[in-house]
């Protein structure tokens, strides 16, 4: 399962605009949880979409398992790379279980139907996000947090070596956010490469093996959380004061706005 995702010199600009990403290098390694952090407008979401293959970089390249992402056939890519995006609105009465089961689609050839194994897989995926009791609920009746967990289960059901999540905790309560952190560690423990865009610095600090801190369309710093999420870096990038509190695990506490605000490059 040792497939990783890597970006080399990635530049991205919307037509006629200035670059939103300007020479980004990063590695989403197997067996590791990588957190993508950065203030609003730093290019996190664009980087996520480029890594996910939803946007083609203007320059540079993204590789999945050593192959250029853009040349991998769609179905093959779908068996290697799963995405968790912001929960969409659905017009039809799909149940949570049916949506999770859609994660099996890339593994089914031709007109084959999902097997009993596939259905068991879907149920296990729902259990992993504490949502088994939602299986028969109709998606439009779920709360935002419940929807988010169902869509995370859908990505788990895809059973891919690489998993990318865009703000997977944005609608979750603290208990479910911590459970998700545990799940991310578990996925990495299985040898998967996991990357998340996160806003919650404390959650990133306790969960991630690697942190990529974006600022001004570039990677400002990358490495282990304690090395990257330093009070100097956080003041420069976010304009906040923060400190680490020793313990098991060590915790990052963001305690206020820095007097001078973020440094502007």
């Amino acid at each position: 399962m040792s497939v990783g995702l890597a970006a080399r010199g990635v530049v991205f600009a919307y037509p006629g605009g200035r670059p939103v990403l300007d020479g980004v290098d990063l590695e989403v390694a197997p067996g590791r949880v990588t957190a993508l952090l950065g203030p609003n407008g730093a290019g996190k979401s664009t980087l996520f979409r480029v890594l996910a293959g939803l946007l083609a970089p203007s320059a540079g390249r993204v590789t999945l398992g050593g192959r250029a992402l853009g040349v991998i056939p769609a179905r093959e890519r779908a068996r290697q790379l799963a995405l968790v995006l912001d929960p969409p609105a659905l017009s039809f009465a799909w149940t949570a279980f049916e949506l999770v089961l859609m994660g099996r689609a890339p593994h089914l050839s031709g007109g084959r139907f999902e097997s009993a194994d596939d259905r068991a897989h879907a149920l296990r995926s729902l259990e992993a996000v504490d949502a088994a009791h939602l299986a028969d609920r109709v998606y439009p009746t779920l709360s935002a947090g419940e929807r988010q967990r169902v869509l995370i289960a859908r990505a788990l059901c895809q059973d891919t070596p690489v998993v990318l999540m865009d703000e997977p905790t944005s609608h979750l309560d603290p208990a479910h956010a911590l459970r998700l952190a545990g799940l991310l560690r578990e996925l990495a423990g299985q040898g998967r490469a996991v990357a998340c865009v996160l806003h919650d610095l404390a959650l990133a600090a306790r969960t991630a093996d690697e942190v990529v801190l974006l600022s001004g369309q570039r990677v400002f710093a990358a490495g282990p959380p304690r090395a990257v999420l330093t009070s100097d870096n956080l003041r420069a990038v976010y304009g906040v004061t923060a400190r680490w509190v020793d313990g098991d695990p060590a915790a990052l506490v963001v305690d206020g706005l820095a007097p001078a605000g973020p440094a502007r490059q």
Binding site: L81, L85, S91, P106, F113, E114, R154
Partner: protein
């Protein structure tokens, strides 16, 4: 055990068998309802009787045509709803049928002489309508569902005006014939025996392509990006389905005129019973739609003696479908507005 059992091949075939029984039952019912004085024994055995002629020249072509038209409209509605993620999409409401009507009337009246080119004109009109309506309804790469419905309404009005212009300009005899056809009637035109085969092929191709797209339509429910990440190309799916729906609806409208709301009512009812999985919704809608149109058509012939004239079948489908559309619109305004 799930609240709604998972879709297995067995469950699919059971539902389709039930749908087929419904469609065949509807056809048999239509045979008797549409021509109560028909004695089936004589009609089948005595080739020299008027009954035989009535069955083979009138009733059977009419019922076959009704089945094909109903299946096409219902499946096209279901596919459009999935494709546009809009439960109120329907070939009639979105202006696709209006475009097809204008296109088919235009090629017929502008003097190609034969009605056989009408399906081609219908296809061009339907495709044009779908492209224009979609393009105008797209905002920042996303289709705005309610705006699309509004544009469809406006497009229908424009197509209606276009038809009136044609009516004013063209030869009165040809106009009479074309307009009669566009009023929405599945009665086969005995002077054009090739229309039914053309319609059947166009619809058949469309139905097969829609069925092959069923899984992609399911995944599209999750949004374009997630569908892409599951190996589906939303743009290709949209293009393929737009073309085949235009071919099928274009031919249908060219041959039988405007029969509205079938594509709205039938998939909606089917989804209420079996859930939203397109692998089941598409074929079952086709079967139920086939039966629905045939029964609606037979009921207009059954009512003809009482009314003194035969109503177009489109009147019946609109009388059932119009109120249902309004009820749906009122029932779930937020979900549609998203």
């Amino acid at each position: 055990m799930r609240a709604r059992p998972a879709l297995t091949p067995r469950r699919l075939w059971l539902w389709l068998a039930a749908g087929a029984v419904f469609a065949v039952g509807a056809a048999v019912l239509a045979l008797f309802l549409g021509m109560p004085e028909l004695d089936l024994g004589t009609a089948l055995s005595d080739a020299s009787s008027w009954q035989y002629a009535a069955l083979h020249k009138l009733q059977l072509p009419r019922i076959s045509q009704g089945l094909v038209v109903g299946a096409t409209l219902a499946a096209s509605g279901a596919a459009l709803q999935g494709l546009l993620r809009n439960p109120l999409a329907d070939p009639f409401i979105l202006g696709v049928s209006g475009g097809a009507a204008l296109g088919s009337a235009a090629v017929t009246l502008v003097g190609f002489g034969t009605a056989l080119v009408a399906p081609l004109g219908g296809f061009l009109g339907a495709m044009g309508a779908l492209l224009v309506v979609t393009a105008l309804a797209t905002e920042a790469g996303r289709i705005a569902p309610l705006r699309m419905l509004l544009i469809g309404v406006v497009f229908n009005a424009l197509a209606g005006a276009g038809l009136m212009v044609l009516q004013a300009l063209a030869d009165p005899g040809a106009v009479q014939l074309t307009l009669m056809r566009l009023m929405g009637s599945v009665g086969a035109d005995p002077s054009e025996p090739l229309l039914l085969p053309i319609l059947t092929v166009a619809s058949g191709v469309g139905l097969v392509a829609m069925l092959l797209s069923a899984r992609g339509l399911n995944l599209l429910a999750l949004g374009d990006d997630t569908a892409r990440s599951l190996g589906v190309s939303p743009d290709r799916l949209r293009l393929v389905l737009f073309v085949v729906i235009s071919v099928a609806v274009g031919a249908t409208v060219a041959v039988t005129g405007l029969i509205g709301f079938v594509g709205l009512i039938v998939p909606h009812a089917v989804r209420l019973v079996v859930g939203p999985d397109h692998r089941l919704v598409l074929p079952l809608s086709a079967l139920v739609g086939a039966g629905f149109v045939v029964v609606a058509d037979a009921s207009v012939s059954a009512l003809a003696p009482a009314l003194g004239t035969e109503l177009p079948v489109g009147v019946v489908t609109a009388l059932v479908g119009g109120p249902l559309f309004l009820a749906l619109l009122r029932h779930r305004p937020t979900r549609v507005a998203e």
